[in-house]
């Protein structure tokens, strides 16, 4: 039987844990301190709890930390970590080092239900939701943990399809009783599930990134089936109705596919669609996925597209492709082979 996990519980839950084993409610803060401020690896290390309390905790709970079972290192320094999950499945996490920062790209689901044509994760289908603990563990249990500057929820899975766990993980990362990180260092990326996006905007202060990829309905529908349920025009309309203030950022991810979404017509329509939003576009070169009839554009096309958007007053950057040689780059994370191996 799998024991309940302490890591990944919020302050209220930790206070309930304390009450359940006869400790006073305020001891919940002590637990949070041990879990999220000090880097313990066992319940027995919670030295300001009585031996009896630690025994009771050990009886009912696991600490809930899980070390990566494999690490791959790219020639550009990007690392890809493989983590086992609670139900004997696997997820991948990327750590992207840059000159002045280290960004961790976390997964939120085992696989994904969204079925985007260009994504490796989508090709493995959906095998399960991650808990908040499993999401935060991807940050806590890597060797760069102390030097992480930014977190992006852009790994395997659709974060807004696992909203409760995602919100709870954000709470742990940003609360004073948790890791006390600034929400401005965290970006959650979604394909735009509107009801979940509204809740996220209400309940979190982290940045929002939306996977756009084409402004045209019929094109987006072929690339991203979610377009039928949540058309990008509606997603953008919703975003326009929110005040993001000066600190919070909304950005749009735009994977460039050769000859498909890289024309002047796309620039014009993007400009029209995003008019009135203070945002930026991140251009991403498509990373070829086996069996997908899409191709990556050349460097000149990417730069031209960026310049055309900048000329329309849309701040546009080209995201460097990192970790492509170890399949850690955008859209390439997948543990499909491990599912097949298990079956």
């Amino acid at each position: 039987m799998i024991k309940d996990q302490l890591f990944g519980k919020d302050l209220n839950e930790l206070q309930e844990v304390c009450l359940s084993i006869g400790l006073p409610k305020y001891a919940g803060r002590q637990l949070a301190e041990w879990l999220y401020k000090k880097e313990i690896n066992a319940i027995d290390e919670m030295s300001n709890l009585s031996k009896k309390a630690r025994e009771l905790l050990n009886e009912k709970f696991d600490l809930g930390l899980s070390a990566p079972s494999k690490v791959q290192i790219s020639i550009d320094g990007t690392k890809k970590y493989l983590f086992p999950t609670l139900h004997n499945r696997f997820i991948e996490t990327a750590m992207i080092p840059e000159e002045e920062r280290k960004t961790v790209c976390v997964s939120t689901q085992v696989g994904c239900k969204m079925g985007c044509l260009f994504c490796m994760t989508g090709k493995q289908g959906f095998q399960g939701q991650l808990t908040a603990g499993e999401i935060v563990n991807q940050i806590r249990s890597i060797s760069e943990f102390r030097n992480i500057s930014n977190i992006v929820y852009m790994g395997m899975g659709e974060p807004f399809d696992n909203l409760e766990a995602v919100l709870k993980s954000l709470d742990i990362l940003t609360s004073e009783w948790g890791y006390a990180m600034s929400p401005r260092r965290i970006t959650v990326s979604s394909i735009g599930i509107i009801p979940a996006m509204i809740r996220f905007l209400n309940e979190s202060e982290a940045h929002l990134a939306i996977s756009l990829h084409t402004p045209f309905d019929s094109e987006r529908q072929k690339l991203m089936p979610v377009q039928i349920a949540y058309p990008i025009a509606e997603v953008v309309r919703e975003i326009k109705s929110w005040d993001f203030g000066r600190q919070r950022r909304v950005s749009f991810e735009y994977i460039l596919f050769k000859g498909l979404n890289d024309t002047p017509l796309h620039v014009r329509e993007l400009s029209r669609l995003l008019s009135g939003i203070r945002c930026r576009i991140n251009l991403i070169r498509f990373h070829a996925v086996p069996g997908t009839p899409l191709e990556s554009p050349d460097e000149e096309t990417v730069n031209n597209f960026r310049e055309q958007l900048n000329a329309k007053d849309i701040t546009t950057t080209v995201r460097a492709s990192r970790g492509q040689d170890i399949y850690a780059a955008c859209g390439l994370l997948s543990t499909k082979e491990l599912i097949s191996a298990k079956l």
Binding site: G115, F126, P195
Partner: protein, 226 residues
């Protein structure tokens, strides 16, 4: 924490309708209907809720666009909020429904309609709206009693209605998954459109399979239930 009503503040466009019928057409699968008041295109979806406490969920319309009633097909998710409540709805109960929307539209030309489970809904809507010429329907299900509306599909499409049952052998039905059936087919016409509807794994697998057999992704249209 935001209050529940804040979550649904953006769903002000939901209209109140009254349930006219709620039929359990197969164990755990219901066709719930209300009086049709707006025009829709077969393949479109509606947002559906029973109250303002939770955001609505999206369902494909599962009725003809000339019918008096508009309906959707759903199966009960035991741990869900909406479907257990929908399953107990009776005539006269209130539902909150959006206007139809979405672009999973069909054309008049030759088409494959490929579905699993309740993914048959948009294709049934099309069939009931009078479109059946040059259509080939492939429906996959685990059990024999999950081929919803089989009599109507069979009567209208004859040999162009193909059932794939993964749960066990039945006379006149292909035994195996939809993907297995498709894999065994040698030729897919390139001038057909391919419409896929169902859970993501089936849609992704079928889409990849069709592409590997030379069908342009421009001719493949997918709707995923998530």
């Amino acid at each position: 924490m935001a209050k529940p009503e804040e979550y649904s503040r953006k769903e002000q466009n939901l209209q109140s309708v009254k349930v006219v019928s709620n039929l359990e057409i197969s164990p755990g699968v219901f066709l719930i209907s209300w009086k049709r008041s707006v025009v829709f295109i077969p393949g479109q979806v509606v947002k559906l809720a029973v109250d303002q406490l939770q955001p609505p969920r999206i369902y494909s319309i599962c009725s003809g666009n000339n019918s008096d009633l508009t309906g959707v097909l759903f199966n009960i998710k035991e741990d869900g909020y909406l479907t257990p409540r929908l399953a107990t709805a009776i005539e006269g109960d209130e539902l909150l429904v959006s206007n139809p929307y979405g672009s999973f539209h069909f054309e008049d030309g030759p088409e494959y309609w490929i579905a699993t489970g309740t993914g048959i809904a948009p294709f049934y809507s099309k069939l009931k709206s009078g479109f059946s010429g040059n259509k080939i329907v492939i429906h996959g299900a685990r059990h024999f009693n999950q081929f919803y509306f089989k009599d109507e599909f069979e009567r209208t499409l004859g040999a162009n209605y193909i059932r794939c049952c993964s749960g066990g052998p039945s006379a006149g039905i292909y035994q195996g998954h939809v993907t297995q059936y498709l894999l065994e087919q040698n030729k897919f016409p390139k001038d057909y459109k391919y419409y896929l509807c169902g859970k993501s794994m089936m849609v992704v697998d079928v889409r990849d399979l069709l592409i590997s057999k030379g069908i342009s992704y421009n001719n493949i249209f997918s709707e995923i239930y998530f």
